[in-house]
């Protein structure tokens, strides 16, 4: 290769006709002309431009489709986040859920708490407590009426809509009905907090709030509330509360619109026979009643 520059000019087609004539006489031309000429006769497979373009469009379309198939990690993370939220919240909902015990009309039930404290629920009542946390915190909420026999131990707390009762180890009854809140202490000492005021009850005492009027009554008989022996006892309680209790024990609807429901009743009624129960409430107050299925109407007894 003597004159590279000339060779390149030749291959690049830059030579004039004259120059080319001169170049053809050189050794370079002799050496390379055949290579250059024969190489130019090689071919690359031809391309049909239209077919190729159509093929390109098809590939582009396929690519669009394929894009959709790509794994959607965003969705995966969303699903994972939702799952975590579900697991965590279900832990709080199901594992920290409080245990609830409920009674219906004319039903009582006895429940043992995790520390073997005993709760006897009167009709239409409900307690709720957290079984898991019970060891650290003996605390429950009460709606209605219940008798508690508390095993000695740490502070035992009963929360009601009316007030709180704190004890260490004792037996007591709590009755929390509409316009009626009553705590009776049968053993030990009970601290009742009502309206931010703490009252200590000792054995045989009871504290009650009727229609917002609080009073402390001394001298209780027995070692457990009478309702546990299928009887409800009242000392100077307004008739409306007594009627409500009869309704709870017998599943009756009592119409007392014709009588004075604020009259005070002292006495008791049995839970076993509704006629005897109704009589024992109405007769002392000079009332009578008519019974029709589960409907009872009270009226003033006029005699014949």
């Amino acid at each position: 290769m003597k004159d590279e520059k000339q060779i390149h000019r030749w291959l690049n087609g830059e030579m004039t006709a004259q120059e080319l004539e001169a170049f053809k006489a050189t050794q370079d031309y002799t050496d390379y002309s055949a290579i250059a000429e024969y190489a130019a006769d090689l071919e690359a497979p031809a391309v049909n431009k239209d077919d190729a373009l159509a093929d390109l469009k098809k590939r582009l379309a396929d690519r669009e489709k394929n894009k959709v198939i790509k794994p959607n990690f965003k969705g995966f993370y969303q699903a994972a986040a939702i799952l975590i939220v579900l697991v965590v919240s279900s832990y709080f909902i199901f594992f920290n859920q409080s245990t609830t015990v409920k009674t219906k009309i004319a039903e009582t039930t006895t429940t043992l708490l995790p520390d073997n404290s005993e709760v006897v629920l009167n009709a239409q009542s409900k307690i709720a407590y957290n079984e898991k946390k019970w060891k650290e915190q003996r605390e429950l909420t009460l709606e209605g009426e219940a008798f508690f026999k508390v095993t000695k131990g740490s502070d035992f707390e009963v929360r009601t809509s009316a007030g709180e009762i704190n004890v260490l180890g004792t037996q007591f009854n709590v009755k929390n009905r509409l316009n009626y809140f009553e705590v009776e202490c049968f053993e030990g000492r009970v601290a009742v907090t009502y309206n931010n005021e703490e009252i200590i009850l000792t054995r045989g005492n009871k504290y009650r709030v009727v229609n917002g009027r609080a009073e402390k009554i001394e001298g209780l008989l027995g070692t457990q509330p009478s309702w546990m022996m299928h009887e409800s006892s009242f000392v100077a309680v307004p008739l409306e509360q007594v009627i409500a209790e009869i309704e709870r024990q017998y599943d009756l609807t009592i119409n007392a619109s014709k009588v004075d429901t604020s009259a005070l009743f002292t006495g008791s009624f049995t839970h076993d026979d509704k006629n005897i129960a109704l009589q024992s409430v109405t007769i002392p107050l000079g009332l009578s009643y008519k019974i029709d299925g589960d409907k009872v109407e009270l009226y003033n007894y006029e005699g014949e």
């Binding site: 291959l11 050496d31 390379y32 055949a34 000429e37 190489a39 090689l42 071919e43 690359a44 497979p45």
Partner: protein, 172 residues
């Protein structure tokens, strides 16, 4: 004019124009690299797809360079290297058509086979430059622009190619 085209590279009609202008060059270039027609078309098509997908980002004046660079990169990434043996267009009779002795025909045949093999033995760089010049009739300047290299580099590859070919092939 160029500016219009640049703005329109995302426009289907002007992209199609760009495609039709360069598909042959692109495919041939890929073919000189990989030596397989189907693979070559795949490479070229993929490079065009990349241009279409990035049409907004590519300067039109650079689109041609981008096309060949992309083919080169795709080739390096995926295509298995194989021997690049090209076929002859027709039974070309050589520069001197009067010299048709049986002896010459035999020599010519031998020469042509040796040339095919020798071209296959060139480096990729040498081969693609040499064939772009010889088959596609590209000027050095055009090749330099396509491959994004200097004209000097093209000359160097051509010289290298010629030297190797000369060594391996007896003078006809």
């Amino acid at each position: 004019m160029k500016k219009d085209l640049q703005q329109n590279l995302c426009d289907e009609a002007s992209f199609n124009g760009f495609y039709t202008s360069y598909i042959t060059n692109a495919k041939n270039f890929a073919y000189y690299k990989c030596g397989d027609s189907d693979n070559a078309l795949d490479l070229a098509q993929e490079a065009f797809i990349k241009i279409w997908e990035n049409c907004g980002k590519i300067d039109f004046t650079k689109a041609k360079t981008y096309l060949f660079t992309t083919i080169n990169n795709l080739f390096l990434n995926k295509v298995k290297h194989q021997k690049v043996v090209l076929n002859y267009k027709n039974e070309y009779q050589g520069p001197d058509k009067t010299n048709l002795s049986p002896e010459f025909v035999l020599e010519e045949k031998e020469f042509k086979t040796k040339l095919q093999n020798a071209i296959a033995d060139l480096t990729d760089g040498q081969r693609e430059v040499f064939l772009l010049n010889r088959i596609d009739g590209k000027k050095y300047r055009e090749i330099a622009e396509m491959l994004d290299i200097s004209v000097k580099a093209v000359e160097k590859r051509m010289s290298g190619a010629l030297k190797i070919l000369k060594e391996k092939i007896p003078t006809l």
